[in-house]
């Protein structure tokens, strides 16, 4: 991993981080909304209509990306009203409170925590429960993430990270880095100057051009 590259991290809580690549990809995820007024030509514009003159009538349901939902939403609900994706609804909340460790959070939308935090921006009467569920899910899964990241040394971790969402994966990687750094310190390799990882990717091509 490059040690001098510090990307902009995702935002915490209700605010997104404007320049964070993670937050941009997270806000690209779709959520279901209900049209509150007749929306001329929206169907075509979103690629869900049948023709240029297609208007989405009041009450019809669509799936739009989060960034668009945030932009079109206002508290008086004149244009759209936001509904919850199923992973944040009552049924799934019960599953998560029963045992959060068995759920494949990567499949249920890879940005469970980030997207869930953003959902709290829309005034939904279930917000307190959603917030509680997200928090409790994180608490119950964190132990497992930390444990596995600190004990998987030099092995294939794809099975361990397969069911983690993006936030958990970042934590896992941080744990792995700590573990690897410690192990290399123990072996006395901490003072060894190493080639920059950036070089290892470009260097091969460059030096073959010179030699050849």
């Amino acid at each position: 991993m490059s040690e001098a590259y510090f990307p902009v991290g995702p935002g915490l809580g209700l605010e997104e981080s404007f320049l964070s690549l993670d937050d941009i990809l997270m806000s690209q995820e779709k959520l279901p909304v209900r049209a509150e007024t007749s929306l001329p030509r929206l169907g075509f514009v979103l690629g869900q209509g049948t023709g240029t003159g297609d208007a989405m009538t009041e009450g019809s349901k669509l799936e739009i990306p989060l960034w668009l939902a945030k932009g079109l939403h206002d508290s008086k609900r004149r244009i759209i009203s936001v509904e919850l994706p199923k992973i944040y609804k009552g049924a799934w909340r019960t599953v998560l409170s029963a045992d959060a460790n068995v759920v494949d959070l990567h499949k249920m939308g890879p940005y469970y925590y980030g997207f869930g935090s953003q959902l709290l921006n829309f005034d939904n009467p279930e917000n307190p429960e959603i917030a509680q569920t997200i928090l409790q899910t994180f608490i119950s899964r964190f132990r497992h993430v930390m444990d596995s990241s600190q004990n998987a040394y030099n092995e294939d971790t794809s099975a361990l990270v397969a069911r983690l969402d993006e936030l958990e994966r970042a934590l896992f990687q941080a744990g792995q880095k700590g573990l690897n750094d410690f192990q290399s310190w123990e072996k006395g390799q901490a003072s060894q100057i190493t080639a920059s990882s950036l070089v290892q990717n470009y260097g091969k091509r460059k030096f073959t051009e010179v030699d050849g």
């Binding site: 510090f6 993670d22 929206l42």
Partner: protein, 195 residues
Amino acid sequence: MAGERAVGLVRELHRATGGNLPPFRTEELRQALEEMRALYEQNQADVSEAKSGRTDLIFLIRFRHCCLLRNQRCILAYLYDRLLRIRALRWEYGSVLPNAIQFHMSAEEVEWFNRYKKSLATYMKSVGGEEGLDLTQDIKPPKSLYIEVRCLRDYGEFEIDDGTTILLKKNSQHFLPRWKCEQLIRQGVLEHILS
């Protein structure tokens, strides 16, 4: 779907892990900016119509505005993240970038890199007394003045401080001063051997 190209740029950059710098996508960037221009012009036209009474257009104007903001955000994040990666190159690789990396940078980015180098050099000269202080050296605390290195590829002749030249051929081993080799090790020419 509006904003797809801009998000595509972000996605590709996000996939390049480890601080790698993928090639600069001039064409996709131009298309995204073109999309923004088209949206803006459509909105300009619709706003004057909406002002004279067609309130049903207000939603469409707002939608296009959201798309414009989205494109703006994606493009800005793309350019900024690339600069962060280029900055990391100065610290990890050195002040002369190999051609392979330079091909991946746009002209403006090369310009930015040169200006950053200069800023850094000015700063390093101003710190640490008369000769300045090279902050890009000794990233890891050194244990000794001289280190054992093995050459990984043919590099050619290399002069050290007391005037003697050393021929760096593949697989030759040398015992050299740390400060002379550090950059070559980071560039992958030499390999630091621990005894």
